[in-house]
Point group: C2
Chain length 221, copies 2
Amino acid sequence: MKIGVLGTGMVGNTLATKLVQTGHDVTMGSRDAKSPAAQEWLRSVGGKAKSGSFADAAAFGEIVLNCTNGANSMAALRLARSENVGGKILIDVANPLQFTEDSPPSLTICNTDSLGEQIQREFPQARVVKALNTGNCGVMINPSSVPGDHQLFICGNDAGAKADVARHISDWFGWKRQNILDLGDITAARATEMYLPLWLRLMSVLGTPQFNVRLAIGSKH
Amino acid sequence: MKIGVLGTGMVGNTLATKLVQTGHDVTMGSRDAKSPAAQEWLRSVGGKAKSGSFADAAAFGEIVLNCTNGANSMAALRLARSENVGGKILIDVANPLQFTEDSPPSLTICNTDSLGEQIQREFPQARVVKALNTGNCGVMINPSSVPGDHQLFICGNDAGAKADVARHISDWFGWKRQNILDLGDITAARATEMYLPLWLRLMSVLGTPQFNVRLAIGSKH
């Protein structure tokens, strides 16, 4: 499958590498089509992988993954351009986190809006699915690196797109289908993005990003 | 032990009832010292339990629990008055949630501040510990109603107060000490309060509030 991965940071690199390893044709997109990070990635994966601008990667992919820095995702996606994204599935992996020296990390968008919703509004034809944003990318591409069952949350307005994304995530990364939980429409992106401050605290306290949450459910009565 | 419980809603009622059942002397405080909800609660628990104003309950307790509606907690606590709270442990159970008809629930404070921090700033002498706010009150007072291990998060600026609260929560409600996780200073209240939108979505999808999260942790390498 042809996949466009927007972003050359740790998340983009990790997901794009795994997608190449599972046999997909990947173009990594960045602001600078000659991005040194993308060139380095190309050398590391070899073979048919390509790199280019955000627009190149969006035009290339049958599916587009937004792995850009969440605080800058809207700017990156505007460079990818609506006509290149069209009605494709756009998996939004980003979190609009902002790190400052003197206070805990915060979100640049939250509570009554979310990055997932902003993207869906900016690209009304795209079938935006928020996914893979509630854990370390190493766990997201290798769920068995954390013992037992644990959950991955997805949301979006298009039921068919969510079903496709759940199937892809299962095929690409090995997630059990029953551990992929659909939280509803794209407004649920508020919930999964607002979980990040807790995730960051837990990472700090546990001393590792290699964790996730498992739902423990009692009887209804 | 003498405990002041502020709030007559489901959370205050559930926690106060459990505290009476475990042998504590409880005064339930409300805005209206003759609150019908508090009178009804008194009839249901009988015995030595009392009710009164927020100030009465705060003055009575060796420990004070804020179980008021989070969006109104600051107003309630001001009625409880600083001289009645003094240097006591104040367990903040509330979440500043706001429910509207047309959009998902939101928080009245979040991201760069939290209710826990606002309370600590307003009552600088009090030893504020944020706790018991990341699950249904039925789960909070009866962790074994959810199968297996699952976590309860606490935070606050006073290490001694957190140790006391962890011990109390274990004694009062049966939490295993190793499942009570200290997330650090009171700014971590941002993280646990901002988890509520995800908790509410999960409740809706799972069809029950009887759940919690269990941390699944991989090896560090």
